[in-house]
Amino acid sequence: MQSRIRIQTEDFDLNAEVAALTTDGEAGAVASFTGHVRKEGNLSTLTLEHYPHMTEAEITRLVEEAGKRWALTGVTVIHRVGSLKPGDRIVLVAVASGHRQAAFQACEFLMDYLKTHAPFWKEEARNGERHWVEHRASDDDAAKRWE
């Protein structure tokens, strides 16, 4: 299984990422997830902080776990950090497999674990005031489904 994990400030190219997962021709199915900054009336900036080194290490562990649970040919995880604007893309998880159910399940598993395990923190700026986004209990519930 090939895997690509990137933490970066810049945006990503979905066509190129999906193509990279299918060039070997083994995978007929690619399930992808992109997370986007919502456009809300007073939200001006979303800033993402992370824990360098641990972020990559933790995501590597999550991807390895997904590779043990499902028959995958490739996984790509790209997470942006720094200052984002409403409408910007935040995260990509793309999973290639010979079977679409494996691709879907692994993609959802990775998103649920990213949300609960990968050391990122979001800070919103609204009307000139900054505050840290609160972790959601519903994300913990989502991750628990895979235990």
């Binding site: 997370g35 993402l48 902080e49 992370h50 824990y51 080194h53 641990m54 290490a57 933790e58 997470h79 935040i90 995260v91 998103m111 990213l114 949300k115 609960t116 395990h117 990968a118 050391p119 990122f120 923190w121 979001k122 800070e123 840290w132 986004v133 609160e134 972790h135 994300d139």
Partner: protein
């Protein structure tokens, strides 16, 4: 030991990283010591249900052992993705 703070933990303590020479113990004893260092630390660690811990870049609990060569990070529950 090398200590790292992120998000509002970092803001309350007023720095992102520091080196401290402390005897080996566990995370709980380390936090007890940190809380004696000033009101910023006290504030950051006032409610441990809101604190998450990593030891050497792996998630860990309050009972995790820590020694002089370890990297210990304190942060809020994560909100990425």
């Amino acid at each position: 030991m090398n200590l790292l703070y992120f998000a509002w933990v970092r803001q309350k303590i007023g720095k992102g990283e520091e080196m401290l020479n402390l005897p080996a113990g566990d995370v709980a004893s380390l936090i007890a010591h940190l809380k004696s260092l000033g009101s910023g630390y006290e504030d950051a660690f006032a409610d441990l249900s809101r604190i998450r811990i990593a030891v050497n870049q792996r998630h860990a609990g309050l009972d995790a052992p820590v020694g002089p060569n370890d990297e210990i990070a304190f942060f809020p529950p994560v909100t990425g993705g």
